[in-house]
């Protein structure tokens, strides 16, 4: 069985598990929205200021809550289940790909949900909304892969995983913030999209190539 086929099976069942748990939809998205709501309460209802800081606040919330999404309970299977997958001969790269893909889909859902809240609360002026269809998935994929690698390094997440993700996510956050700023100012954003794509490719290679080593080193 190919790695991709194994990953596809695992992804399907992980998403089904998440759908029943509802951790992201019922918990993380509402709390992310509340975080966005708190900021206008702190800075006051000055619409020009809110419109200019909105995208930046949005990406900060995506980063902080995105780590929670990648370290959700359904992303870290119990040790016995993990052992069973190892004994079945499931390729560690397939496990990485499935977990990262599930996290990316959920992060995209989170980005869209919280993004709608941001638009309502901050009313940002953004030209070229269509570009977001490219930026959002690239950011979701990057954060998902970074979170999955951090979860493997820390063997199931814990307090250490978010601390690992936050500094390493700076290129993603920078690319995302600069891309939306470019959209707001009407300047070119292609180079920032390329930065995001490059970071994603590097993370994908790192995740696939280190999956086996990380799994074996935990034994």
């Amino acid at each position: 069985m190919t790695v991709w086929r194994q990953a596809a099976f695992l992804l399907g069942f992980q998403l089904r598990d998440e759908l029943r748990t509802g951790e992201v939809i019922a918990v993380v998205i509402p709390f992310g929205s509340i975080a966005l709501l708190v900021i206008p309460m702190a800075v006051g209802i000055e619409t020009t200021l809110l419109a200019s800081i909105g995208p930046g606040m949005y990406w900060a919330v995506v980063l902080l809550f995105g780590v929670v999404v990648t370290q959700r309970r359904t992303a870290t299977s119990n040790p016995s289940h993990r052992d069973a997958l190892v004994l079945l001969g499931v390729d560690p790269a397939a496990r990485f790909a499935a977990t990262a893909a599930a996290s990316a889909l959920l992060l995209l859902l989170f980005e869209i949900g919280v993004g709608l809240v941001m638009i309502v609360l901050y009313d940002p002026v953004v030209a070229g909304w269509g570009w977001l269809a490219l930026v959002l998935p690239l950011v979701a994929a990057g954060l998902a892969m970074l979170g999955t690698i951090a979860g493997s390094v820390t063997d199931g997440g814990g307090a250490l995983a978010p601390l690992l993700v936050a500094p390493l996510a700076i290129p993603i956050l920078l690319g995302a913030a600069q891309a939306t700023e470019g959209l707001r100012l009407g300047t070119g954003i292609l180079r920032w999209i390329l930065v995001l794509a490059l970071v994603d490719v590097v993370l994908a290679l790192a995740g696939v190539l280190t999956a086996r080593v990380l799994e074996e080193s935990s034994r």
């Binding site: 099976f9 695992l10 289940h81 052992d83």
Partner: protein, 277 residues
């Protein structure tokens, strides 16, 4: 390698003697297994076809034991969990592993499952040397039933088994059949999280049936099972040994597993203190 086969005395004669000694010891174990098989009604895996001579029997027997480890030690920060453990499990043999809490039984099972790398010592599991990449090839032939069930809590028992069947390259129907075989066909749609311990344990045995392992490692197999399900454990153990596989069964209850095993070992403080019977 075990039983003197890797003896590196530097003296050719001594080495030859060690090899012969090892082969003789294995032959004695095979004969002993045959005697027990005859007494227990288990299939005799070493019976020569059409009553051939014993020499033919030995030639036809599988060359390698299922498990052959020697001098295994597992160290963890501040603790030596296993020390100098040697164990051999022959084809068709079920070995009971007893010992108090913390004696290292579960760690030894994990070493045999190739899930824990020994700090020192070595040997082979299903012919693959421990600590090498070769173990990846034999892992699908190993099944481990651990303390905690290998089930995803929010998936139903049926979904859990289907996932494992698909990953094992089996048909989805096989998952349903395995659940039926362990008496859980009616609970296939129930989430693992809301099943009783006994039901989850039965689902674990369904997983074993799907895997059809050559090496079955059971950690407290009877925990959570009602007396009627005890027969299920026996059937699974016999199906593995009957195919020429090996079973290592960890338990606190000598009386309950006594009839399932060919010999027993006792671990104390990470060391085997009672080698066989």
């Amino acid at each position: 390698m075990v039983g003197g086969e890797s003896s590196t005395t530097g003296d050719g004669n001594k080495s030859q003697f060690a090899i012969r000694n090892s082969q003789f010891a294995r032959w004695r174990q095979v004969c002993s297994c045959r005697q027990r098989a005859a007494g227990s009604g288990k299939p005799d895996l070493f019976l020569p076809a059409a009553g051939g001579p014993l020499l033919l029997t030995l030639a036809a027997m599988p060359e390698d034991p299922i498990v052959a480890v020697e001098g295994i030690a597992v160290r963890r920060p501040g603790a030596l969990i296993l020390r100098d453990v040697s164990l051999q499990v022959l084809p068709g043999e079920a070995v009971g592993l007893f010992g108090a809490n913390g004696s290292g039984k579960t760690t030894l099972l994990r070493v045999l499952a190739t899930l824990t790398r020994p700090s020192s010592g070595g040997g082979t599991v299903l012919g693959a040397p421990l600590g090498t990449d070769a173990v990846e090839r034999v892992r699908p032939r190993i099944a481990l039933v651990a303390h905690d069930p290998a089930l995803v809590a929010n998936l139903t028992l049926g979904e859990n088994l289907r996932l494992l069947a698909l990953l094992a390259g089996r048909r989805v129907d096989d998952a349903a059949r395995a659940l039926e075989a362990v008496g859980l066909s009616g609970a296939s749609g129930r989430r693992a999280a809301v099943c009783s311990n006994g039901m989850r344990r039965r689902a674990e045995f369904a997983r074993v049936m799907l895997a059809e392992p050559d090496l079955l490692l059971l950690d407290e197999a009877h925990v959570g099972l009602d007396p009627a399900a005890g027969d299920l454990v026996a059937r699974i153990v016999e199906s593995v040994t009957g195919r020429g596989g090996g079973v290592v069964l960890v338990s606190h209850e000598r009386e309950r597993v006594g009839s399932l095993i060919d010999r027993s070992l006792t671990l104390a403080d990470g060391r085997i203190t009672e080698p066989g019977r």
